[in-house]
Amino acid sequence: MKRFKLVTIICEAVLEDMIVKELDRLGIVGYTVSECRGRGTHGVRTGNWRLSTNVRIEVMVDEATSVAVRDALMRFDDDYGLLMFRSEVEVLN
């Protein structure tokens, strides 16, 4: 069972396409997206229309790539609601 990093990105829905483009650029094939809402330093995101919806994008990658993902997405950090964190996972298949 190989150890990987799971990078979880929670951000404004409008960023989804731009983030996927960055993943493409890094040669990352696999990712998972789901809808969410919440609250953070950019205020309440109620999810009641697209402009106030968040997405959660998860990418399971090796440690080095997880750093590359982080570096690639930091340019969105100033201007957009964005949270990125990383955890340890073991792949089972």
């Binding site: 404004e12 409008v14 731009m18 205020g43 309440v44 109620t46 999810g47 009641n48 229309w49 697209r50 402009l51 106030s52 919806t53 969105f76 201007d79 957009y80």
Partner: protein, 315 residues
């Protein structure tokens, strides 16, 4: 100066939102209804267009497209220098006010129908035309004085957004299908796309009230300058729209609709485009002004007033 009871649905939504009611309309209903509304008015316009001498649209289109630019430009100058806003916010808000609101337009048509004032559904062509230019201008204004300036704009992406953004695509698609279908093909679609229009609009307004309530509640944070701007700008723009409509010899109904288009501020296409193209602009300000102040202002005060004014003037 009466308003259509349909605006009360918006009020109901606002009340529900402010009262923190457990009434929640799922976002997908919002999406589905906005697709419906865009298609419906596109189709209706297209059907009328099929009986219309297309050449007659050229001069008004060019006139309107040129004259409308006065709105984002003056809005930018007022906000930047009068309101001392940073260039990003000034440009973003200017783009919102230069663009148009489909629902405000729809309420105006409903209100004209209620008052039995005739108008042409072909006006939807201008709705489609006016959506994007001000947004492009807004992006350019935001880059003035930036490193790279206007040359740094990714025109490819922006042009793509212009023609394939949801609202333009559905409006133009609806227009084209209506044009091909004509009265005959439209007949079987009419129960959903024509008869159902006002009910769907009512539902949508309810939902918009819920969405807008948060923006309305936060109006203090916008500062008095922006709040005043968000009510004065539409009136000024509407008057300017009436002047243009007079030049073009528009009927009373069409004059009201053009005034409403000029007066209305975008809250679908512009916010989405500006969030991507001008990330440094604060969306709370632009959406707050357009959806939290100008939209309800136009519904409850603006449209009745523009109707009244046009009827005084054009007669």
């Amino acid at each position: 100066m009466a308003f259509d009871p349909i605006v009360l649905f918006f009020l109901l939504g606002v009340i529900a939102g402010l009262a923190k009611s457990d009434l929640k309309i799922p976002a997908v209903v919002y999406e589905a209804l906005s697709i419906y509304l865009l298609l419906a008015i596109g189709l209706k316009g297209g059907v009328e267009l099929s009986k219309y001498p297309l050449a007659e649209l050229v001069i008004p289109s060019v006139t309107i497209l040129t004259t409308v630019m006065a709105i984002p430009v003056s809005a930018y100058l007022i906000l930047r220098y009068g309101g001392k806003m940073n260039p990003y916010d000034a440009a973003s808000i200017a783009a919102h006010y230069g663009s148009v609101s489909v629902v405000t337009y729809s309420v105006a048509t409903a209100s004209l129908a209620e008052q039995q004032v005739a108008y042409d559904d072909v006006m939807v062509v201008y709705l489609a035309l006016l959506e994007m230019p001000a947004i492009l201008l807004g992006v350019m204004l935001a880059r003035i004085g930036e490193a790279g300036g206007v040359r740094a704009i990714r025109w490819g992406t922006l042009t793509h957004e212009v023609f394939f953004g949801k609202s333009i695509l559905l409006l133009l698609g609806g227009l084209a299908i209506g044009l091909v279908a004509g009265e005959k093909g439209y007949a079987s679609l009419a129960p959903v796309f024509k008869e159902g229009f006002k009910g769907a609009l009512a539902f949508f307004l309810l939902e918009m009230g819920l969405v807008a309530s948060i923006r309305i509640a936060a109006f203090r944070t916008y500062g008095p300058f922006l709040v005043v701007f968000a009510m004065a700008m539409p009136v000024a723009a509407a008057v300017w729209g009436m002047v243009v409509a007079r030049w073009l010899d528009f009927s009373v109904g069409n004059t009201v609709l053009l005034a409403t288009l000029f007066a209305s501020a975008s809250y679908i296409a512009a916010p989405a485009a500006m969030r991507i193209a001008v990330p440094k602009a604060n969306p709370a300000l632009s959406i707050g002004a357009s959806l939290g102040v100008t939209f309800p202002f136009n519904l409850f005060v603006g449209i009745p007033f523009y109707s009244w004014l046009a009827q005084q003037w054009v007669r």
